[in-house]
Symmetry: C2
Subunit: 149 residues, 2 copies
DNA sequence: ATGACTGCAAAATATTTGCATATTC
DNA sequence: GAATATGCAAATATTTTGCAGTCAT
């Protein structure tokens, strides 16, 4: 899935979001990765190309994107929000050992939009917790490194 | 569901957890409520009966309980962990407006224990986000108060 | 010029850690 | 009395806020 600068721009404009340089960079980074990045990891990576980019902008931009449905905020990892640019319905797997979030191609039978018992539903989240395949095998040292990012 | 002090004690002992005074108080409070309390709200309430109880103890005790499967840690509310003493499978609804977590009696068709695609699953989480029934009606001032607890 | 966006620094929140004291068996 | 649990204070980490400077139209 190749996403050009123009694709990103069109996506923002179509959602009524002004396509600033920072926003395009942030959107590009979230879309490009399947790693469910944190504010911290995004900042660390993006300052290379956008040296003045502040965490404040990342916070406000990602909140805006989430509100517009452009990205999804994942609160699976305690005390740290992760972002997902992949908004088609799918499940997640959180590894208690390496703290990665892995996509699972599993639709949810309960995925109801609209109303349920009088509540208005806007998002559906489903995930599993446990130990991932890689950590179950011996070489989990490498994955452990991602504990803090 | 009436839970006596002895019931709580038996539950801890059966899980191999020493039934100290603090732990019994904490367990009692989490079981009694269906409000998915936070560390802060539990502390505020429990100091009335256990004046010396520290947040450190609440953190370590609830982590221990969660590890033993006595309670479930919910990471739905961003930047704040909430605890659920109700461990039979059910879904949750998080209200973006009043920040309450409401229990939904909905089983998950995907609720697989054991293995999935090589990953070892220990917990299954399903929840919806949106605006709750109460906040959709006019009187949401009261519920707003629970924003910070 | 106006309004929206950005970013620095400081504040607010939540959680973790070190270590001394107290409790339980 | 040894091992474990508790609690205070300090340290970390994350997110939010106030405000001043910038950018685009």
């Amino acid at each position: 899935m190749i996403t050009t600068k123009d694709d990103l721009k069109d996506m923002l404009v179509s959602k009524g979001v002004k396509p600033t340089f920072q926003r395009l960079s942030i959107l590009g980074a979230v879309f490009e990765k399947r790693t469910h990045p944190t504010i911290k990891s995004l900042h660390g990576e993006l300052v290379k190309s956008v040296p003045t980019l502040s965490k404040t902008t990342l916070y406000s931009t990602l909140e805006l994107f989430a509100h517009k449905g452009i990205v999804t905020a994942l609160t699976i990892d305690p005390t740290k929000v992760r972002y997902d640019g992949h908004t088609t319905p799918h499940h997640h797997f959180f590894c208690d050992h390496c703290a990665r979030i892995i996509d699972l191609d599993l639709a949810c039978a309960n995925s109801r939009r609209g109303e349920f018992e009088g509540h208005r539903i806007s998002e559906v989240h489903g995930y599993f917790k446990g130990i991932c395949k890689e950590c179950l095998t011996k070489d989990h040292k490498k994955h452990n490194l991602s504990r803090r990012n």
